[in-house]
């Protein structure tokens, strides 16, 4: 549940969600659930030339299993905390 908790801390911030089909959507993180399904608000597509029809949808639900990356706001990243948390994950595995 590490990433679930971590993403919950980022609610209200701007993130960019990159899907496995290369679509990248930027928006305000509205909510995230335990499956890492992500709801964004005030979204816009990063590469608008490639995906003109996604130009602007106000809110958007993204299935957790199709997310490749989530780009975080730099100020939302505490590197020391993440170091420790990932170390723990590695030990547990």
């Amino acid at each position: 549940m590490l990433f679930f908790s971590y993403f919950k801390d980022l609610v209200g911030r701007e993130v960019t969600v990159e899907l496995k089909n290369d679509l990248a959507i930027r928006g305000t993180l509205h909510s995230v659930d335990q499956y890492l399904n992500i709801k964004l608000e005030n979204t816009r597509v990063v590469d608008q030339d490639k995906y003109p029809h996604m130009l602007s949808v106000r809110n958007c639900f993204i299935r957790g299993s199709v997310v490749r990356y989530v780009q975080l706001p730099p100020e939302g990243v505490d590197i020391e905390l993440l170091h420790d948390a990932t170390r723990r994950e590695a030990r547990g595995g």
Binding site: S5, V57, R58, N59, H83
Partner: protein, 227 residues
Amino acid sequence: MVLGLREFTERVGDGAGEPVLDSDNGEELMHVQHSVAIVLGNRLPVSPGTLYISTKQVVWLSDVDKTKGYAVDFLSLSLHAVSRDPEAYPSPCIYTQIETEADEDESEGSDSESSDTLDLSKITEMRLIPSDPSQLDTLFDIFCECAELNPEPIDGEEEEHNWIFSADQMVDEVAEEGDHFSQDPTNSIGHSNGDHDLARTVLELQINDQRFEDADEMDDDHERGHH
């Protein structure tokens, strides 16, 4: 499981009614929306039809042609959104992206060949246009609710991914290890290298990690702190 969009023809009664659902496996009808047009890929809208949202899938049935209908499992719906911008699409609609078996090849090419042959397995986009746009937010919420009812099946992948699902246990383990660390620092990673500074750093990090525990537990901690 078959990904993507598929034909759906099984209707109850004389074949003119609601879709036949897999109620034996707990599938329930969550919402019915009349007067909804459907757009597959870059095709023209097909209407009129009725949208049925169940706990497992989205089914659209034509009101005119009783043999015509489409369905897609929530497991195949990568994304859904409310689209109101006329530049994105002329009619306000629910926009969805569908994961297909052959996701590598984009669907765009198939449309140019022949607009009469419809290969459902290559459709990666679907729009649902209710005649009453004020229903869009309700529909969006129902889609969200049902999507959350359909997490990825985890059978067979447990070995590979168990670092995600055992996070709860790990928190406990770490709590124990934390004690262990402070009592006997010679066992820490850093000391095995003879690097005491690194060991201390690890110790310090260990202490300050409550933010990564479950929110519920955090609330508990707050309670205890105040009383």
